[in-house]
């Protein structure tokens, strides 16, 4: 094959995937940025250039700020907890545990269930009067509480669902990584007199760093991308206490049909994701990799 043929082959092989990616990822991202500077077309009135009006509206919009802060709290609550639980689960399941297979099955099952189905079940859990949580609370003599209906607990309830759903998924990656660590390391450390905790802190955990980074990036993306349970459980309520960024975009875009403002909101979400990507590269640069 000549060089030109090889080039042509490369481009042609790539063409179908590249065309679809361009149409449904790159173009919409660029179009979102473009449209965030225009007004929403209404009836016969076409979109007109409005400069940064949509962003000005965003700065003044208390619901946007609440959705953003909700989302940051949601991320701060779900990410560390689900990762820590995942690591704990992996360590347990990797050891010689009685009934290991069953326990692993229990941890992993939420991963393959649809969030929407899971949310239905948890909704029942949290239901006032009938719900399991209320029954347990009642049996313990606690006062009745509307878990999803009160502003102080609703977001926490959604976070519990997310942690429950994701920990088992992340466990799998830790399990794979743990199984690749050489047993000789532990033997050597034991000869040197290192304690169990010391060994974990100074050997196992650093060796798991690439996995932790991978899981962390996935957890962050999921915290901003997965809002299925909100649609089922709270619809952003009560009083926007559980509105996350993407859910708010969905409401603005598809309930109020204000596509220009939705574009400006989407730009915020894209910025968050870009920051995550940059953070990942910065982290990788600092040689998290031990391989």
């Amino acid at each position: 094959m000549t060089r030109a043929t090889r080039w042509l082959y490369g481009w042609l092989l790539l063409l179908p995937a590249a065309a679809l990616l361009a149409l449904f990822t790159h173009y919409p991202a660029a179009a979102t940025a473009w449209r965030s500077f225009f007004s929403t077309p209404k009836g016969a009135r076409p979109a007109t250039y409005v400069g940064v009006d949509n962003y000005a509206q965003l700065v003044e919009d208390p619901i946007f700020w609440q959705a953003l802060s909700n989302n940051l709290w949601y991320a701060a609550g779900t990410i560390p907890l689900s990762i820590a639980l995942a690591l704990l689960m992996a360590a347990w399941v990797n050891g010689k545990l009685a009934g290991r297979g069953l326990v692993r099955l229990a941890y992993f099952t939420p991963t393959i269930l649809p969030m929407i189905a899971v949310a239905n079940i948890w909704l029942f859990f949290y239901t006032p009067e009938y719900g399991l949580l209320e029954k347990i609370g009642g049996a313990l003599g606690l006062p009745a509480h509307n878990w999803l209906g009160s502003k102080s607990t609703a977001l926490g309830c959604l976070m519990a669902v997310a942690i429950w759903k994701e920990a088992g998924f992340f466990m799998i990656f830790y399990l794979a990584a743990l199984q690749q660590i050489s047993p000789y390391l532990a033997e050597a450390a034991a000869i040197e007199g290192a304690s169990r905790w010391y060994f974990f802190r100074r050997v196992t955990f650093p060796l798991l760093m690439p996995t932790t980074l991978f899981v962390l990036v996935n957890a962050v993306i999921n915290a901003f991308r997965l809002v299925d349970h909100i649609v089922v459980m709270t619809r952003g309520g009560p009083d926007n206490a559980t509105a996350l960024l993407l859910y708010y975009i969905y409401e603005i875009g598809f309930r109020f049909w204000d596509t220009a403002y939705a574009a400006a909101l989407t730009m915020v979400l894209l910025t968050v994701l870009a920051l995550v990507a940059l953070g990942q590269f910065w982290f990788l640069d600092r040689k998290v990799h031990y391989q």
Partner: protein, 276 residues
């Protein structure tokens, strides 16, 4: 914690086992609860009695209360369509990135990886507009299209193809194979486990996907199970939990049964997909 010398002993070991089991019980509790409610008459949905009679009536009622058969067919078509397209497109693209030199390769690969971060799930407003322009709104094709070129699939297969020895490739070429024949006869067979892993991850993702299908469909003919379930539980049933949980289990049953049967493959597939 990974090796025998650092395994817990005595009391610590007992505590760890108990802890692992309690966490496991906690993790399976919602599902167990759903099973209890779905298989017992309504009045037992929040009352736990050992003598509660078992029944399938909730499933029968749920099945007849909404066009679940249609939703099942839609979901199967959707998952199959996406998977076939993904396998074809990602294989070709991964082959190009792994084994061909061409100008712009680095930049194009970076552009592909953008989709790992900016998934179609966050571009719903613009993609909805595109589908309207294309006249595809409320079709199964529209649900699947944004996902067919998958950065994750391209990346995964590229990594795999790169591990194929070049000698095999060259030997096949000397035999007179064209590049596409080499791909089909050398690379694809060697990547079979990766294909299986990718297929399982893809099907479970799209079986479960919700927000985009919710937005882009509005008729029974196009709706997948997840959206059908939501429409059903949000409007039709009020708060008849036994029927809602029965419908919930019904919609997840194929995946759940497949998972229980092929647990090892599932777990290994997710692992394989994550390590690369």
């Amino acid at each position: 914690m990974s090796a025998a010398v650092y395994r817990a002993t005595g009391v610590a070991r007992g505590l760890e086992t108990v802890g692992a089991w309690i966490l496991g019980a906690l993790w399976i509790l919602p599902l167990a609860y759903a099973f209890w409610t779905a298989f017992h008459p309504g009045e037992f949905s929040t009352r736990f009695a050992l003598d509660a009679p078992l029944t399938l009536a909730n499933f029968v009622k749920a099945w007849h209360a909404a066009p679940f058969a249609r939703y099942f067919i839609n979901t199967v078509i959707l998952c199959a369509m996406i998977l076939v397209a993904q396998l074809a497109l990602c294989t070709l693209a991964a082959y190009a990135f792994a084994r061909f030199e061409f100008p712009g390769r680095g930049i194009l690969f970076a552009l592909v990886l953008v989709q790992l971060m900016v998934t179609p799930d966050v571009l719903i407003v613009e993609n909805y507009r595109t589908m309207s322009v294309l006249g595809l709104r409320d079709t199964i094709l529209a649900i699947g299209l944004p996902y067919m070129a998958s950065a994750f699939g391209i990346f995964l297969l590229r990594q795999t193809f790169k591990t194929v020895p070049k000698e095999l490739d060259e030997a096949a070429r000397i035999e007179g194979c064209s590049p596409l024949q080499v791909l089909w006869k050398v690379y694809v067979p060697l990547a079979k486990p990766v294909y299986l892993a990718y297929a399982l991850v893809s099907v479970s993702y799209h079986w479960n996907n919700f927000l985009w299908p919710l937005i882009i469909t509005n008729s029974v003919e196009a709706r997948p199970l997840t959206v059908g379930l939501q429409v059903f539980s949000a409007t039709d049933q009020g708060i008849d939990w036994s029927i809602i949980t029965a419908a919930t289990l019904l919609t997840t049953a194929p995946l759940l049964i497949a998972f229980l049967l092929f647990q090892r493959q599932f777990v290994q597939s997710f692992m394989r997909a994550g390590i690369k």
